[in-house]
Point group: C2
Chain length 311, copies 2
Amino acid sequence: MTLPFPFLAPENAPCPTGLLAKAQALPAPKVALVNAGSLNPLQGIREAVELGLADPILIGDIDKIKRTADDIGWDISAYRIEDAPHETAAGRAADLARSGEADSIMKGQIHTSTFLKGLLPSAAGLREKGTRCGHVFYITRAGSERPLFLTDAALNVNPSVATRKACLSHAVRLAEILGNPHAKAGILSPTEDTIPSIPNTVEAAEIAAWAKDALPNATVQGPMALDLIFSAAAAEAKNYASEVSGDADIMLAPNITSGNALFKMMVLGMGCCAGGLVMGLKVPILLTSRSQQAPARICSAALGAIVAAAA
Amino acid sequence: MTLPFPFLAPENAPCPTGLLAKAQALPAPKVALVNAGSLNPLQGIREAVELGLADPILIGDIDKIKRTADDIGWDISAYRIEDAPHETAAGRAADLARSGEADSIMKGQIHTSTFLKGLLPSAAGLREKGTRCGHVFYITRAGSERPLFLTDAALNVNPSVATRKACLSHAVRLAEILGNPHAKAGILSPTEDTIPSIPNTVEAAEIAAWAKDALPNATVQGPMALDLIFSAAAAEAKNYASEVSGDADIMLAPNITSGNALFKMMVLGMGCCAGGLVMGLKVPILLTSRSQQAPARICSAALGAIVAAAA
């Protein structure tokens, strides 16, 4: 008999009820689902529709979409369907967002890179020149409504300092939209010392200095190791004076390798719920993944509704 | 009133009893404590002595050591004390290890880099030419004896592929010493695809291919994202065939930035106990940190006793 892997949390937290209620109090946004004609994405948007988080626009092969809807017994006759081949479906969603017909865009059965290639280039018209996009996770633990915003754990692979500044700004803005105008952010590094052989420590200090002027309503500190971000006791043991320690709202990761592993450790090891979205475009972009659970999809849809309403 | 940070585990796991019993069944190793004359290190070695995990050699300023021992009411008259100034204390420990008088070396009140500078250069005589050192964490969750070996989360900042291979080998050997001759290892990356723009994915594939011949008794797979290492269900959802998924014994991190954050997330967020040691020298090296809890120190001492006995 094999024992269960002890590092895997036995269950996952639901989407926090406060967030859900806030989203449900708003009009359901028009959500353009890119490549809707497969089981997972259609089930996902159906959940969001039934919770009042989405008014769907289903983009993709119209026959496949109708067949899949039949398969899951969902009457989609009231919804807008846009017939589009796989390669141009994301571009069609960008058109709808640009013209104001869609309030957000959701990834369906399409490879993330193909999906983003249709949305991110300035030709798609969703981005102001010079703006950088970033993904922000909204992570909550079972029994708590308090989020940790983690960025970037999903989009930018090796973000430059400028991109990390943008990601931090997006997280601060997301916190503001959700009702926290004075977010505390820790810039993650393996140590609190600035050490030239660990460039992300030096860059963290640079980002923290920049934030004093650029993000005056936030408290930004770094470089900080994770123990200093999470624990006031650890900070005290190391004589590290910080308002952020043990009270962080935001954690800025130096790269996707660390960010991605940390978000997955929080979901799988700690049972957290992690919704999230790409910010920096005209509308929020909801990335979903085959291995994500329903609470994470619902959380992302709720965030999408709130951010779309704030635009 | 401030609510407690919800991402902080309310308590930490003790050192696993099976590991402790295994260490206590062996003769207590001679442990050379470098710069013993401060409260934390002396308390730490005392714990280890009282649990039968260490026969101490206290290195440092002899007056400070005696005064600190008086302060904590510990009679050290039976133990060997080596008078040495701060700068040369680590070198003195290396001498003792080389001559066989010390079975392991423990860090006291000394900066990690100063400590290691006295031990790691080949001049210290603890290292065979060409051997690379690596730190291995032995992480257990409350209520379970099953460890996850995580490397390198403490020593090598930007380990080369060769150093990562050495770290993996050290973890496999540590698993063997502890009774697991067929360890399963996942090489961590943000994705299971080998993508040139994410060099650690390509390197992970290289290390996995190398391991087939170099570590024939282990099962090594990579690149793997953390969800694929931890969860058989996630692997199934992504059609990723793996014996490692959800059954990993070892996780090889691409660099200290991700390794360090993950170990700290497991300790602070999941309440895990994380002992560990530096391998690759003539004797194991125990690094301790001011912010570490007693269970982690005891776990490290137990590992040190077991590894020293296997030398």
